[in-house]
């Protein structure tokens, strides 16, 4: 019986997707720990230093970072609408919003590249540069991976891999993208505001 087989198959998919989702959440938690560890390093060195930023070091400008943050948070919103679309099986709407997310992600990366090339401080130049370039670099790398992740799931969606019921890959990509957003909130506050 085809319908019966489909049900058992769906149940299996749900079970496996549940395991993968939990595994992916654990991965994100351990990734959080890695960022948290470097943030601790930054705060520790900052706290131990008599002046901050260290003498002769200029902090990066707030305006470019603020624009870049708006771009990244905007991509979080478009990602959210893309997921809403796939739940309603609206592939066209999903495609539009995912492409928008990818473009916003690339804009963020370009903004970061511009910022990096116009800073006087370097990675090995000061204790500020050490933490700044390590943390924002790690974050930028995560955005880059996220863009690749999104391009992959977009291609898969256009090929019909995902359905309204079966889209673990999309869930994972969305979670990852929101995770990268949240990390940026902390980094923006630490390096540009605090």
């Amino acid at each position: 019986m085809a319908s019966h087989a489909a049900t058992a198959d769906d149940a299996l998919y749900t079970e496996v997707a549940g395991q993968r989702l939990l595994g992916f959440l654990f991965f994100l938690i351990s990734d959080c720990v890695i960022f948290g560890s470097f943030i601790f390093v930054y705060l520790y060195i900052r706290n131990a230093s008599p002046v901050w930023p260290p003498a002769g070091v200029e902090r990066p400008g707030l305006y470019l970072a603020a624009v870049n943050s708006i771009v990244l948070f905007g991509s979080g919103a478009t990602m959210h609408y893309a997921m809403e679309a796939i739940r309603r099986a609206n592939v066209r709407r999903f495609t539009a919003f995912t492409v928008a997310t990818i473009i916003l992600g690339c804009m963020f990366l370009s903004g970061q590249a511009y910022e990096y090339t116009h800073l006087h401080d370097t990675w090995a130049g000061s204790t500020f540069g050490a933490s700044f370039f390590t943390l924002t670099g790690m974050h930028g790398f995560h955005v880059f991976i996220g863009v690749i992740f999104l391009i992959t799931v977009l291609v898969q969606t256009l090929r019909g891999t995902y359905t309204p019921m079966r889209h673990f890959g999309l869930t994972a990509a969305t979670l990852y993208w929101h995770f990268v957003d949240v990390i940026w909130v902390a980094l923006f506050f630490l390096f540009y505001v605090y």
Partner: protein, 551 residues
Amino acid sequence: MSVADLGHVRTGHIHPPPDTFVKKYVFSLDHKVIGVQYFITSGLFFVLAGLLAELMRAQLTGPNNHVLSVATYNEAFSVHGSAMVWLVTIPVLTGAFGNLIMPLQIGARDVAFPWLNMVSFWMFPPAGILLFGSFLFGAPQAGWTEYPPISLQMPFGTSMWCMAIFLIGVSSTITGINFLVTIVKMRAPGMTWTRMPLFVWATGVTAFLSFIATANLSAALAGLFIERTFGVPFYDPAKGGSPVLWQHVFWFYSHPAVYIMILPAFGIVSEVLPTFCRRPIFGYKAIAYSSVSIGLLSFMVWAHHMFTSGLQHWEQFAFMALTMLIAIPTGIKIFSWLATMWGAKIHLCSPLLFVLGFLSTFTFGGITGVLLASVPVDIHEHATYFVVAHLHYVLFGGSMFGIFAGLYYWWPKMTGRLLDERLAKLHFWLMFISFNATFLPMHWIGLHGMPRRVATYDPIYASTNLFVSISAFVLGLSFLIFAYNALRSAKQGEVAGPNPWGGRTLEWMISSPAPYYNFDEIPIVLSGPYDYGKPLPYANIKPELATVPTH
């Protein structure tokens, strides 16, 4: 009935049986084969790291020996410590026992992500090669903790150390995620949390520690590596960094790592005791929840390794008090185990002997641990042989005796054959006596003030050190008995049958060694595993396999 016809939804983790040698024994997806791969690889590294220890003891037979140069001695103790922690104890207790036993005990056909499991194993041998290969490029000399600034000034071997430990850290993070998902999501129907075997509880908490704490280690190592390679200032005080910062991030991992190295051994003890005492474990829930509380407390005590690194007084006091709190859940376990044995008809087989060895030596090491947690004592004993004695009582007397208890206990399940009991007992007594003869006197010379990690010493410690070295050589030889026993068992060992010890957990309800898919039908669990004297609490188990023990 073949597994594919079961029509049960729990078929998601079935991968086709391997058809080539490489798929079966090299890049295997089967958790049991991967478990054995971990055992063999760690065993090789154990021999190498053990030989380094014997070289160190050869150097220390006399006060001004020249067996090793001072630099080589430093390299030997650094690589010995790193290898024993990351290449032996952690992989054996998590990768090997966790893979081999945990899925069987929860009635699963494999771990949640078999492919990741394989990848995770294959990060491990390269890590070992990098670590031992560092001798060719100037091995690390700052001990297994690699404190800066020394670790920043050493040649390329220290960078290889960073890469090796980073690799093993990633591997251990992946394994931790994999195991915790398996335990949360893949228990057999009816196996509620409080019906899980205690080894599974221990493995679950260890898995949690692995992916939280080890991620932090990866970050710390990445920092050290990029500082060494690109001159990025994190830890170098000359450039505004802080060496104490390294101690914070390193110990924030490495104190939980101490429990990664002991909790699975606690789990093994909790499995062996009820089986050989033939009675329910005393305080099942107390043991299970104390594992959880040890796991949580382990994140709050890291700075007790840093009492001499210039902490504030209130920090010292807080870390002292929190550290001493850990004695409570540990004590709960020790007393529950003793109560399990109280008045029981004890079958003194080899696994139980090793458990008794574990209980006596680990308790001793635990008590010196409470002494060292006390700030005034620690300031006096810091970096002396007292610390060496303490850590070997918990890691050798605890973890290693636990590992051998588990090996003797599950060897029949792993290989299908029994080990020779008389040789096993000989191994135990030789190991137990020479272990104590090696490490007990270190307490005394430590209290007298002999510093650790130095290739020479004051001649007044000469006779004690000679005695310690001779005992250490005997201790090394005692493992040959195990090696001989293992080889002998492969050739002429008695066939074990499914349940040689009369265990009641699920791994004993299937044939030995376990078949490829473990369970033809997923068992249904009706109550907890340790109720000796009651009928077996499983449905869907072949009755002929669940019968009484033969030995």
